[in-house]
């Protein structure tokens, strides 16, 4: 069954998640035509799986979670930013009644940078290198962007 957009989905872990259509409706010819909404390039079902993994792996606190779309043991593309950069990190926010998320633009938006403690966990899990922790926190290019 297809994952519905803009509709809360009850997850087995007790949370509810909404896949927002406005993070999907502006892709034209592989480019993001929206100036303020990054766009997912993975299927909604994978977006939800990305969130579930983020919560189950402990890449979260009460208000935010940070996700990766792992393919062949490395973070893979999951979206396009408003500057048409590739994004390989997702940011999820707890809106109270439900969570929702979007491809993060850590090279431009300060609050789209995952906290250092989360990045250290990714490094310990061999998902990123130590030097990439500093690059992400500094908004520099690394394996989670282009």
């Amino acid at each position: 069954m297809a994952t519905p957009l803009d509709t809360p989905i009850a997850l087995t872990m007790g949370s509810r998640y909404v896949a927002k259509s406005y993070h999907r409706d502006s892709m034209k010819n592989g480019r993001n035509t929206s100036r303020n909404k990054s766009q997912w390039t993975i299927y909604p079902v994978d977006e939800v799986a990305c969130f579930v993994d983020a919560i189950s792996e402990g890449w979260s606190d009460d208000l935010e979670a940070w996700g990766l779309h792992i393919a062949h043991a490395v973070p893979a593309d999951l979206g396009i930013t408003t500057r048409d950069d590739i994004s390989r990190v997702a940011r999820f926010r707890n809106a109270g009644l439900y969570w929702s998320g979007f491809p993060a633009d850590y090279r431009n938006e300060l609050r789209d940078r995952p906290p250092t403690i989360i990045l250290q966990r990714w490094s310990q899990a061999n998902l990123i290198e130590k030097y990439e922790i500093a690059r992400i926190r500094s908004g520099r290019r690394c394996s989670l962007s282009n």
Binding site: N108, P115, T116, Y131, S138, G139, R140, R141
Partner: protein, 401 residues
């Protein structure tokens, strides 16, 4: 000319060096402060080697030696002085964790709580940028306590990625939030520009902002106050010194400076731009001309050809001994003597200390399992007016507030 390299074993995140002490944050979120001069003194018992290491790692300003110029001009003197430095540059110097331990002055849980995104030590204060904001700790340079208190003072709630201090101001880079400046007055930092900013450096009273978009300068000049001007203090004890007020001149885009866009950065007297074919445009900056004739404030010096792959640059900067360009898996020093030093392998963080007097020749490079402290010595005997890259070293230079 290759630098002298000292590798210190450990899993580090950031470093600072200030008044004889080395500050190291590790990945376990512990801050340790070490007696740097004692570490250097313990490397060798040979008096000659100790003296060379002391000059290289703890007294970088000494051999600029403006007072000794006639002596240095004598045949063979420079070569005789540089010989021991060159010999040590061919030796692998290392300090293990166990060897480091006796020199620890302080070891505490990181007082900033989170690993800082950037740090700066300036006028006896240690500043740290974290997700919680801009934090300050008062430093006691000669005390074993190191800090007046280990509870930091929060100066600002905002997030940012980099800070740079000068003239009792902190320039703050905040990606798409732009450029901020904190005035050491406990007021909210001022948002000087909403343009994207990756890094900030001072060019005298102005600030140069590096950006993935076109770089730019927030231009300022110093205005001499007259007794009739607002803000003039009639009762100052240093009445013989002119009273100055910093005046804003506006934003000057990189394209206005270079005639083209491209990654650019600047520090003090020079600004640099990477060209599409991997060269480097070098433009001299004359702060004194900025107010009355801005077009003459920027004077093209040279283009260094075919140096780098502009598509792969991660970050860049400059200091006295040259220009630094970080790539995905290497760091290159384009030396002020036109010799390049390649440091291979990815870098967690690199730092230079151009505001320092004793450590202006240092390059700190944090790797996966060590920090390399490199001491460059080629700039001491160069003609400072002629060198194509790096900050002009001034006669009688003192600690620049």
């Amino acid at each position: 000319m290759q630098p002298i390299k000292l590798s210190i074993e450990g899993d580090y995140w950031d470093s600072q060096i200030y008044r004889g002490r080395l500050y190291l944050w590790d990945m376990e979120n512990v801050l340790r402060v070490y007696d740097w001069d004692a570490i250097i003194a313990a490397i060798s018992s040979d008096p000659g080697v100790r003296s060379t290491l002391d000059l290289a790692f703890s007294r970088s300003n000494y051999l600029y030696g403006y007072d000794f110029k006639p002596l240095f001009a004598q045949p063979g003197v420079k070569q005789s002085i540089l010989g021991p430095f060159e010999a040590l540059s061919r030796v692998d110097l290392g300090v293990t964790r166990a060897q480091l331990l006796p020199f620890m002055v302080l070891g505490i849980d990181n007082p900033f709580n989170q690993l800082p995104d950037d740090t700066e030590i300036y006028e006896k204060s240690l500043y740290g940028l974290t997700r919680a904001g801009l934090l300050e700790l008062a430093v006691r340079p000669t005390s074993k306590k190191v800090f007046t208190s280990i509870v930091p003072l929060k100066l600002w709630d905002g997030q940012a990625i980099a800070i740079s201090a000068k003239r009792r101001r902190l320039a703050i880079a905040a990606l798409s939030d732009g450029l901020f400046e904190y005035g050491f007055d406990y007021a909210e930092p001022e948002n000087l520009s909403h343009r994207h900013v990756d890094a900030v450096n001072w060019m005298y009273s102005s600030i140069y902002c590096t950006s993935r978009d076109d770089g730019f300068m927030a231009a300022y000049h110093w205005e001499t106050l007259q007794p009739s001007d607002e803000g003039f203090e009639l009762t100052r004890s240093d009445a013989d010194r002119p009273q100055l007020r910093r005046e804003y001149d506006g934003i000057i885009g990189g394209e206005e400076i270079f005639g083209a866009t491209g990654m650019s950065w600047g520090l003090d007297d020079k600004v640099y731009r990477v060209t599409q074919d991997g060269g480097l445009d070098v433009v001299a900056f004359h702060q004194s001309k900025l107010k009355d004739n801005p077009t003459e404030a920027f004077n093209p010096l040279t283009t260094l050809e075919n140096l780098i792959d502009h598509r792969e640059i991660i970050s860049a900067g400059s200091t006295y001994f040259g220009i630094l360009v970080e790539f995905d898996r290497s760091l290159i020093v384009l030396g002020s003597d036109s010799q390049n030093v390649h440091l291979y392998g990815p870098v967690t963080r690199w730092r230079v200390f151009p505001r320092s007097i004793s450590y202006e020749n240092h390059l700190h490079v944090i790797r996966d399992s060590c920090i390399d402290v490199l001491a460059f010595f080629h700039d001491w005997f160069l003609d400072q007016d002629e060198k194509p890259a790096g900050i002009h070293h001034e006669y009688g230079r003192k600690y620049r507030f």
